[in-house]
């Protein structure tokens, strides 16, 4: 299974935010869409960073009450590791676990095509194992 199989069932929807938007707006987007991270894109829709719940928490700790007025730009993670639809599930899971992050934007021929969370990847991996077990059991 690869990342493409995950994106295929997500309708390739990505919620993005612009660097100048406020954290207040970003938090609203996270809540509204029940997601854990936003891809930060520039005017050309090119990904330039990622803003996760964890980034927001860190911003709150640093800024206290003024956190909502902060911009996305000042609090996003700019060193972003991206995947492509061809990446193996297991490799992505290993990279996320080792480097301790939970969201990976997916670029297809350089264009933003989706985002996968560690939850998506773990579920896909679990389904794969469950499927293999079920197949073996049906042959007993």
């Amino acid at each position: 299974m690869n990342i493409g199989n995950i994106l295929a069932t997500k309708g390739s929807r990505v919620i993005t935010v612009h660097p100048e938007q406020s954290l207040k707006e970003a938090i609203a987007l996270l809540t509204q869409h029940k997601i854990g991270a936003l891809v930060v894109v520039d005017a050309q829709n090119k990904p330039i960073g990622i803003l996760s719940e964890r980034d927001v928490i860190h911003a709150a700790d640093r800024n206290g009450d003024t956190v909502f007025k902060q911009t996305v730009k000042d609090n996003m993670t700019t060193h972003v590791i991206s995947a492509t639809p061809h990446d193996d599930l297991q490799a992505v899971l290993k990279t996320m676990t080792e480097k301790r992050f939970r969201h990976m934007p997916v670029l297809d021929e350089g264009k933003l095509a989706g985002i996968v969370s560690i939850g998506d990847v773990v579920k896909a991996q679990l389904d794969e194992y469950r499927g293999a077990i079920d197949t073996l059991q049906s042959q007993l």
Binding site: M1, N2, I3, G4, N5, I6, L7, A8, T9, K10, G11, S12, R13, I81, S82, A83, T84, P85, H86, D87, D88, Q90, A91, V92, K94, T95, M104, D108, A113, L126, D127, E128, R130, G131, A132, I133, D134, T135, L136, S138, Q139
Partner: protein, 466 residues
Amino acid sequence: MTLVGTETNPLRVAIIGSGPAAFYAADELLKQKDFAIEIDMFDRLPTPFGLVRGGVAPDHQKIKSVTKVYDGIASHPRFRFYGNVEYGQHIKLIDLKEHYHQILFATGAQTDRRMGIPGEDLDGSHPATEFVAWYNGHPDYRDRIFDLSHERVAVVGVGNVAIDVARILCLTPKELAETDMADYAIEALSHSQVKEVHLLGRRGPAQAAFTNPEIKEVGELEDADAITLSNEVQLDELSLAELASLNDRSLNKKVEIIQSYAQPRSVSKARKLYIRFLVSPVEMIGSDQGKVCALKLVHNVLYKTEAGTLSPKAIDQFEQLNVGLVFRSVGYRGVPLPEVPFNDRYGVIMNDKGRVIEVESKQPVIGEYASGWIKRGPSGVIGTNKPDSVETVTHMLEDLKSGSILQPAQPEVASMQELVKQRQPKFFSYPDWKKLDELEVAKGQPLGRPRVKFTSVEEMIAALGK
């Protein structure tokens, strides 16, 4: 209005397709204690089970035994099968909306992915999926002709379809005779002149998609030797590091089996099955008559992508492999269904975890769902479709509870039955299929074969005197 999903007003669900994903979804729906649900399952073929009948290799009968589970599901009193009834042809979306609260598409992936290299469409270059459908007796493919008079054949890919095709090409008449392969295919393969089969993988042994039993099996064939090249099966630094960190016993074993085929030994069997790694075809070379006569291969090395996958990268080293027949096995792909939003990038129905969605707005299309390969693309084994279908059914039930379902004008079993009879008088019910099944098995018995398949719809209709 009475509630939908009760004994007096059951939820009526149409399932298009009758492969594993269709049956697992039916099972999950019929198991519901809180709702009464009725299933009508449609297939364009008279026979059910999709790729279990038409894809799984005919010498892998144990895998096909999963149909016993599907028989059990089909025996439910609220389950009906309409075979030989094609969506878009006999029954259109508007008809389904007239008769059902929910429609689930589980049509699988019916075509092959393209390689996108020059010469791909030369005479003698075929999608492996067509060869598989042909030897499995799929009515749409029985008239295909594969020129088995060539001595050298290439199979591009190292997934389970590729290895099935390579193995089938290496079977002896005796091995073939024990299978439920279509008679015409047994006849053709028994007279095959093929001496060498070259299985071509882009990546290394540690990344091969086939399973351990599959790679082990090709080492135990009656009259074919499995051979790997020692320079291709020595793992590179990246693969070694990956193997060490995964510490996955079955993967280590796979690599060990692959490497054992590179050991010098006597290879005296009539056929040779070469399993190659780190090569990609970049061109198919044709003869003056437009027939494929060679593949130009580029050699690859592995590199690690940002996300951590070991991927192939071409180096400036080429090789010409002379072959007269090529099977391209780089993956199945779904085909669009009439009036259903399609995601062309992934070859699937546009969906959000099984709910069909509009292409632009990404809003759900009420009452329409997808599961299996037409939902996620081709991946996993038969059983992988179970959790996949369960996910879709979970959303179908959520939508039933929230009232987000179709409002059919004629939700009665009889009215749909009447319509099917009108549009396709020669439809096959599940009892009809069971009769066909018995006839096939009975024909196979004196020959010591699991079954002898009917391979045309006309034969099936005639057999039942329809």
